[in-house]
């Protein structure tokens, strides 16, 4: 069956047709070409012509012209629109002109950097000119590093290497910094939240070092579609950036749909499981040999999907080995094999987490199935963009889960199509982030009294660091005098650079099968957890917390595990308050308590156990809403507790609609009597130490969020509450829905 026939079947067969709540077709778009710019070096023109490029897309030519005119730019065009030429052309052209200019390319991950350097080197080879383009990352051997430092025209690396290896040794990179003319920042949308906040500071440091050597590089940025590319780039670079967002690349006709699984229990608001339902939808695609990518929100779901898809493949006489999983925790070699299999066609379907969302080259697929709303409109379009061919038709569908946000999208699909895409947010002035980079900056060059570095808090941070014995003030400058190498202690990706290593002891010779970040470890690899990797189940025999090692053994059981973590919050400082809402700094404690064993497929509870792990504390920022006791005298403690949990559930689920953030970047907790406010309180906190500005934004939206949560609850089709609005009725009680709505509508008045 062709994709057209399959799509027709979806629209006509009663099993599927009623479940589609949206079905939109976007027409094919023709390419818009222009001639090569007159000013472009003829050697470059010939090399392009030899590789089959006779003209440029309009956006490529525009980028060339803007960069030539000395402007900083950000190019925002879809996947596979020939974005890399937007930076390779002006950079190579400048190198060909002579004068020895150099360029620094930054990619968020090593894998992406390696991908790009291959493509770049192909273009250079066809130029037949000696241009050194090298990857400089953790895998670069020692003797090659010296060559790269002195001879690399183009150095391809990642922000982490710039931060820990290049800037702190800038004197060895004298040639690069003296001649640095261009900095390329690809995948700009990736630099948001804590990573973006760090990167902005790394760029502040880069700017200092360039000024020391007398260079002033221009920035060429590329980004997937986000709501505020210009503003985001300007915030990262701290100067205005020209936005180029009109793509001249062609695209085939695409159909985008939203699918809501059928209701199986109207009273409880339970719909058919999204993973199972996605597999049912996908079976048609498998049958038609349509290469398809599946996106799941969690690792667990990606693994379950792989398992179910393989079963479906067997039914359709497709080789189950042509179905793969892809997520964080797989070894790099496993990932490279899968990527190659996708490009080559030997992999027919892949079940991925957002680990595959970035610009990793897997070719163009015909269909994308999103199992659950990815959390933001921007990443929804990015994931759907994985299906899309230049000439042929493609199909992307979002299959809603029972989650609140998913149900909101499934019942209000216009939100997805008409609402502006979220804005990327960073907070380069997060005190913790800023202070750690001031330390690194002082290590690189003494900080002069008259210097600026970010906000006006610099003098206070410097004074603090002197108190801590890190800096020494002398002769109008602050000198680094601590012994430790500061960049080592600062991870750009998170506050906890550590991972727990997962070791399989099934065979006599133990082997490492993957890693998990430390904050996630208590939930996934506590003792007696079932950890799923590459579709196989492993029982966690032992978690050595101090050594960061989890010992697992392969098992075959019919359940999975779900950990419960008790969360406590203590407000340390209130930054601002408006009547019943406030935001500030808080210490959040996490105490793992028990885990539940849930049967596969039915999710019924078949047992539980205790988790013995230490409590951990997170210093972060939070926003909270107060529901004064006196305004709800009729509610008993249990009733109030249930209602507060319902409010928290709704707020936490609706908040990501307003912030470009992963739902997991926010946590929530409720208190019947908060020690800080003295009243019933619902708190949303940032999962990132020190926060990146989400809490402040929550506070700014305090009224809007309450209203949105109320309409979410009100609009939900369930009778007494369900996971799509206030949470499961069995846990909260039958009145919780009505009471939560009362709290949201009438009790809290956040000015």
């Amino acid at each position: 069956m062709t994709l057209e026939q399959i799509l027709d079947a979806y629209r006509t067969r009663p099993r599927f047709a009623p479940q589609f709540t949206a079905w939109r077709t976007f027409p094919a778009k023709r390419a818009q070409f222009v001639e090569f710019p007159e000013t472009m070096d003829p050697r470059l023109r010939h090399a392009l012509a030899r590789s089959g490029i006779a003209q440029l897309y309009t956006h490529q030519a525009k980028a060339f012209a803007e960069v030539r005119a000395g402007r900083d730019i950000v190019v925002v065009t879809p996947t596979a629109s020939g974005k890399t030429l937007c930076y390779n052309l002006p950079v190579l052209d400048a190198i060909l002109r002579g004068g020895g200019p150099r360029a620094l390319y930054l990619f968020p991950t090593k894998a992406l950097g390696a991908d790009q350097v291959d493509e770049l080197q192909q273009l250079i080879r066809s130029l037949e000119v000696e241009i050194g383009a090298y990857t400089y990352d953790g895998d670069t051997p020692g003797d090659a590093r010296r060559t790269i430092r002195t001879a690399g025209h183009i150095v391809v690396t990642n922000p982490d290497m710039l931060h820990t290896a290049i800037l702190p040794h800038h004197t060895k990179w004298l040639r690069l910094f003296e001649n640095l003319r261009y900095v390329v920042l690809d995948e700009l949308h990736h630099y948001r939240g804590v990573f973006g906040s760090h990167l902005a500071n790394v760029l502040r440091r880069l700017d200092r070092i360039c000024r020391f050597y007398g260079s002033a590089p221009r920035f060429i940025c590329c980004s997937a579609t986000i709501g505020n590319p210009g503003e985001h780039a300007a915030r990262l670079l701290e100067r205005p950036v020209a936005v180029l967002d009109e793509s001249g690349a062609p695209s085939g006709e695409r159909t985008v749909a939203v699918y809501n699984p059928p209701v199986v229990n109207p009273a409880l608001g339970i719909r058919r499981d999204a993973v199972r339902e996605s597999v049912a939808v996908a079976e048609e695609l498998l049958k038609g040999r349509i290469q398809t990518i599946f996106f799941a929100r969690t690792r667990l779901r990606a693994e379950l999907l792989t398992t179910y898809l393989r079963d479906a493949a067997r039914r359709q006489h497709v080789d189950p080995e042509a179905i793969c999983g892809y997520r964080a925790g797989y070894l790099p070699s496993e990932r490279r094999t899968i990527e190659a299999g996708l490009r080559g066609g030997s992999v027919r379907a892949v079940a991925a987490t957002n680990a595959l969302e970035l610009g990793i080259d897997i070719g163009q697929l015909s269909a994308a199935v999103l199992v659950g709303y990815p959390g933001t409109i921007a990443s929804t379009w990015q994931q759907m963009g994985r299906a899309g061919r230049r000439a042929d038709r493609s199909f992307a569908v979002l299959v809603a889960t029972s989650g609140a946000l998913d149900q909101f999208i499934a019942t209000h699909p216009e939100y997805l199509f008409d609402q502006p895409i979220e804005q990327a947010r960073i907070n380069p002035d997060n005190l913790l982030v800023l202070a750690s980079h001031v330390k690194c900056a002082a290590f690189e060059l003494p900080v002069r009294d008259d210097e600026t570095f970010g906000p006006n808090t610099l003098p206070e941070i410097l004074a603090y660091l002197e108190e801590e014995g890190v800096l020494h003030h002398e002769d109008n400058a602050w000198h680094y005098v601590a012994e430790a190498y500061p960049a080592e202690g600062v991870s750009l990706r998170s506050a906890s650079p550590q991972n727990v290593v997962i070791i399989d002891t099934t065979e006599p010779r133990p082997r490492v099968i993957g890693e998990i970040d430390l904050p996630s470890a208590p939930a996934f690899v506590h003792e007696d957890a079932i950890y799923i990797h590459l579709g196989r189940q492993y029982h966690v025999d032992r978690l050595d917390w101090d050594e960061r090692k989890a010992y697992v053994r392969q098992v075959d059981v019919d359940y999975y595990t779900d950990a419960q973590i008790a969360v406590g919050v203590r407000v340390l400082e209130e930054f601002a308050r408006e009547r019943d809402a406030a935001h500030g700094e808080a210490a959040v404690t996490f105490r793992p308590t028990i885990f539940k064993k849930l049967r596969l497929a039915t999710h019924e509870n078949v047992g539980f156990g205790t988790i013995h792990l230490p409590e951990t504390t997170l210093h972060t920022t939070a926003a909270w809403w107060v529901f004064p006791r006196a305004r709800v005298p009729e509610m008993g403690t249990d009733a109030l507790q249930g209602a507060l949990l319902g409010v928290a559930h709704a707020l936490q689920n609706i908040a990501p609609l307003y912030l470009m953030t992963d739902p997991r970047d926010l946590g929530s907790t409720v208190e019947i009597r908060s020690p800080h406010t003295g009243e019933p309180t619902v708190t949303l906190f940032e999962e990132i130490p020190g926060g990146v500005g989400l809490a402040e934004r929550l506070f700014a939206l305090r009224r809007e969020l309450l209203d949105a949560a109320a309409s979410l609850v009100e609009g939900c089709g369930c009778e007494h509450g369900c996971p799509s609005c206030v949470g499961p009725v069995l846990e909260l009680g039958p009145e919780a829905k009505r009471r939560a709505l009362h709290l949201l509508r009438d009790v809290c008045v956040p000015a």
């Binding site: 004197t171 947010r425 202070a435 801590e468 014995g469 012994e483």
Partner: protein, 428 residues
């Protein structure tokens, strides 16, 4: 949705509030823990070291008097000055065979950190050179960080006429830091014709014998001059950083003493290394003969190297060690165009009793190659056959072999089979 503007409340609370928040968030954890007090004698007490006190030449005593932030100290050592078993004059004679003694500078620095990088200051640069018939040790001490430019100018002057730099671990540590300091001060770093880093010959000559090649151990064991009451190297950055705050100049004396002792040990060790490499067989000190053989072989003295490796064979018991040395021995024989010497050596090794392990199989492979070159095809076949039987035995019982060794054995088995096939063909 409005564009995000950071609200004033999050950015600029009062100064004290910011420091309080930083404390709560636990920023600045890389700062030094309060250093432990220096537990070494201060000035005035007897310091058991070979180095005589240096005289402060260009500064007064009070810190205030150090106008430009640099203090220069100088000390002289006559040819008869002894440090353990060695005398300065003898050491300089051993070194001076190229005639550039007058253009040689020995250098050792003390720094504010041990990890390197542009935030590491070289606060004390110690130099040694020959002048006025004696060895002059000159120390440039940074009394204030702001005096660095001046210190570097003085250093550049001192290094201007030098051609040959000698250090201990200076290629990786001291000199890159000095180069970085010059670049940061926008000055051109000095350049040399040669930089001898004694850590490399020292490691070859002594690491396996002493279990380490730290300068202090070499000083005690090789020069016979153990150091007492020396300030441990890892304490030095902390002492200096404390000095920057309390400006108690006397606290730096132990570091100056330490640095002078390091420089003297550097010069005398240089003398010892030069003496040993010129005539290793009569050196009269405990040496790692394998490493010594490698070093003299590199200088072209292959006959001496062969004797060094033979001595190494006398000390080597482990099959793996013997195999490693034998390969070097065979190379040295080839270097003096004596393939027969190599063959005899392999035959002799195969003739002695050896455990039937992979090293014996390697030796037999070499024997087979040597016999083939001698057209002794039968003999070569016998050696390959024995080697194969050992290897097959090993592969059958691979319980003890994993990873690289297992792969090595598999490759060896492939090679042996191919060789056997060729031999059978030639044998007819």
């Amino acid at each position: 949705m409005s564009a995000y503007q950071p609200e004033a409340s999050n950015v600029a609370p009062g100064g004290e509030a910011i420091r309080e928040r930083l404390r709560r968030l636990g920023a600045g954890a890389t700062g030094r823990a309060p250093g432990r007090p220096a537990s070494m004698p201060r000035t005035g007490e007897t310091v058991a070291t070979a180095a005589p006190p240096a005289t402060s030449l260009e500064t007064g005593l009070a810190p205030a008097a150090v106008g430009d932030g640099v203090e220069i100290l100088r000390a002289g050592f006559g040819p008869g000055h002894r440090h353990g078993r060695c005398a300065v004059g003898n050491a300089l004679r051993s070194i001076d065979h190229g005639g550039d003694l007058g253009r040689t500078v020995w250098l050792d620095t003390e720094t504010t950190g041990l990890a390197g990088g542009t935030g590491t200051y070289a606060f004390l640069v110690g130099l040694a050179y020959c002048g006025g018939g004696q060895l002059v040790v000159e120390q440039l001490l940074l009394r204030r960080l702001s005096g660095e430019r001046r210190l570097l100018s003085v250093l550049a002057e001192r290094l201007a006429g030098a051609r040959h730099l000698v250090t201990f671990n200076g290629q990786r540590f001291d000199w890159p830091i000095i180069e970085a300091r010059f670049i940061l001060a926008r000055q051109r770093p000095a350049s040399f014709d040669a930089h001898t880093d004694l850590i490399y010959p020292a490691r070859r000559l002594w690491h396996r014998v002493l279990g380490t090649h730290r300068l202090s151990t070499l000083e005690a064991e090789v020069l016979g001059a153990p150091r007492n009451h020396d300030v441990p190297g890892w304490e030095i950055p902390g002492i200096y950083i404390r000095y920057l705050r309390d400006t108690d100049r006397a606290a730096l004396d132990p570091i100056l003493v330490h640095n002078r002792a390091d420089l003297l040990a550097l010069v005398l060790l240089h003398g010892e290394v030069s003496r040993i490499l010129r005539a290793p067989l009569d050196a009269g000190v405990a040496l790692d003969w394998e490493g010594t053989g490698v070093l003299v072989g590199r200088r072209g003295a292959h006959a001496v190297a062969i004797e060094c490796f033979e001595r190494a064979m006398r000390d080597a018991c482990e099959p793996g060690d013997r195999w490693r040395v034998l390969q070097k021995l065979a190379r040295a024989h080839r270097a003096v165009h004596d393939p027969d010497g190599a063959r005899r050596r392999w035959e002799a090794e195969a003739g002695t009793w050896m455990r039937p392990d992979r090293f014996r199989a390697h030796v037999l492979e070499e024997v087979a190659k040597a016999r083939t070159r001698q057209h002794d095809i039968r003999g070569a076949r016998a050696a390959v056959t024995e080697a194969l039987s050992i290897v097959d035995e090993l592969i059958d019982g691979t319980a003890g072999l994993h990873g690289a060794p297992a792969a090595g054995v598999a490759r060896l088995a492939d090679r042996l089979r191919a060789r056997l096939a060729r031999l059978v063909e030639r044998d007819g």
